[in-house]
Symmetry: C2
Subunit: 333 residues, 2 copies
């Protein structure tokens, strides 16, 4: 018995990401790379948006979850899978497990958006809640894993998860090339860094000269600080940002090992800048973004990066937002 | 002097649409053809969505307006252009005129969505309002055209406008082929029929066997009735549907001549079905749709058409919706 599942701790290579792309084909959406003249005008250069809010389950997380879970042997893990997540990995795991004929349990914070909890259940998972400030979600998930003989699916510190998220990097580089665009810089949001690291491997494979920036909410900029100090830093708080999906206390060891000498640096954005980006996406782009999915757009719109006469690519990572919060944001002026 | 502008009244051919595609290249967005597993599951077949809500100005109308206006000689028409529109053609004309260095005046109904009036002004047009139930917008626009020596840009009864809208039909057929999909049927919303007829020419050029359906709001189904009677029928009312962009009193003569023997028939949808579709697009597709832009999705979701084991394509024509109305719709359950 392997009570914590087969967590793969090696560093993934481009061939692992390409293998993941084969596995998820036909299950994940090949999301569009969107270019909009209004955003180009605002930024004074070309901006390409990888719209992962249009992904299955409304966030990129399905890619990694499916790549991981489709390789899990149901006979070896009769309890299926267990995961902890603030909501998007939860939905990815629930959807992937259902597609693979496995049961799933997801440990979610009590203050997760109601929409995310409801959708995770609708996708077939059993949801167990915990208090974000006092509970230890990993401990709870591992206990469930042992009890049920279920494979633990880590949200980011797993080579298969990272390879799955990296598939969007392969896609976006090919899509940019098809638009005759050579991206100078790439903006990626991060919490634990699964997508950040997977996409970094893919993007650097196709263009070693591309500059990659991590974008985080103000006060949750552990990745930025870790890049400066060279060690994994932690956030002081575990709640208190509108970006509910980007509150992981610190970077994963595997993601950090991948990006520490590879990416240029970090940017952080305020809740207010994120709200403006969500509103811009509604008004101009006609896309539904959740706050965490809009941090890269927020960084661009608030001029945190030089974009003039450059090609910039930003990943819009998700769109799972409660209708009440979305209404509040789009009705403000 | 040609006070009503150079309205082109011949029937456009596929070569005219291809020429239009060349003209709008680099100005219009090549919008994605989106496929989402949840919608496929609901419909029991593949559904491909041409997301024209992601077009410049948030609706397909920019295509036709730019194709028309970029051919207008500013010396011949020193007053620029004049148009009448409930809001999306207005924005298309305003944006195209600004890009071409021409002035624009748009005649809009008093009850047009505030967002559409505001955005039309922001795009550089002067807006003149009229009462939808008592005023004659064409007469007002023609008077302005004569007074200012401005070219009149009809919203649909013009071969150049139809050819411009038809460009999205070329795109979607190529995009469907790239997804290894051979569409059996194509759903298109219609008011005056400019897009309907342009896309019909393009789609039938690439696949003469494709079945095309026009979708209209309940009570504004003049196209459906016209197809049955063989003559251009009118709607009794000029207001009273949530689909503010689909209230034209009757089909244009040129569009009707193109589609009368070509398309299969009509479907109509209720306001409530449209609201459900807008909500579905928010929750599942993460797209912002205006009611008029969601009629085809409404027809699919409410099962008005057999979709099982077929490939269906639906055009999502626009996403310009007031935040208050959008909030009301997404918060309802």
């Amino acid at each position: 018995m392997k009570p914590t599942g087969d967590i793969v701790i090696g560093l993934p290579k481009i061939k692992d990401i390409m293998a993941a792309a084969d596995r998820i084909k036909g299950y994940a959406v090949q999301t569009p790379l969107i270019e909009h003249p209004v955003l180009n005008e605002v930024c004074g250069g070309r901006v390409l948006l990888k719209a992962e809010n249009l992904q299955r389950v409304g966030a990129f997380k399905f890619r990694g979850a499916y790549n991981k879970i489709c390789q899990i042997d149901g006979e070896e893990y009769p309890g299926g899978v267990v995961a902890c997540s603030s909501g998007n990995h939860a939905q990815g795991v629930a959807a992937a497990a259902s597609l693979c004929g496995l049961q799933s349990v997801v440990v979610m914070p009590l203050d997760a958006p109601r929409l995310k909890i409801r959708r995770t259940k609708e996708l077939g998972a059993q949801v167990v809640t915990y208090d974000r400030d006092t509970g230890d979600r990993d401990a709870i998930a591992r206990a469930i894993s042992e009890e049920r003989n279920a494979a633990f699916v880590h949200p980011f510190n797993d080579s298969d998860i990272i390879a799955g998220q990296g598939t969007l990097g392969i896609e976006l580089m090919a899509q940019a090339a098809a638009k005759d665009a050579a991206p100078a810089q790439l903006l990626i949001g991060a919490s634990g860094g699964g997508m950040l690291s997977g996409v970094t491997i893919a993007a650097k494979h196709f263009d070693p000269g591309i500059d990659i920036y991590v974008v985080e909410p103000d006060g949750f900029d552990d990745f930025s600080r870790s890049l400066k100090s060279g060690e994994i830093e932690s956030n002081k708080r575990s709640s208190g940002s509108i970006c509910d999906a980007l509150l992981s206390p610190s970077a994963g060891a595997i993601p950090f090992a991948i990006v520490r000498d590879t990416i240029v640096g970090g940017l952080s954005v305020s809740d207010d800048e994120v709200r403006k980006a969500v509103r811009f996406a509604f008004n101009e782009l006609k896309l539904v973004l959740e706050p965490s999915g809009a941090v890269t757009l927020a960084a661009l719109l608030s001029g945190k990066l030089q974009t003039k006469n450059l090609v910039s690519v930003a990943i819009l990572s998700g769109g799972n937002i409660d209708p009440d919060l979305f209404s509040e944001i789009i009705r403000a002026s």
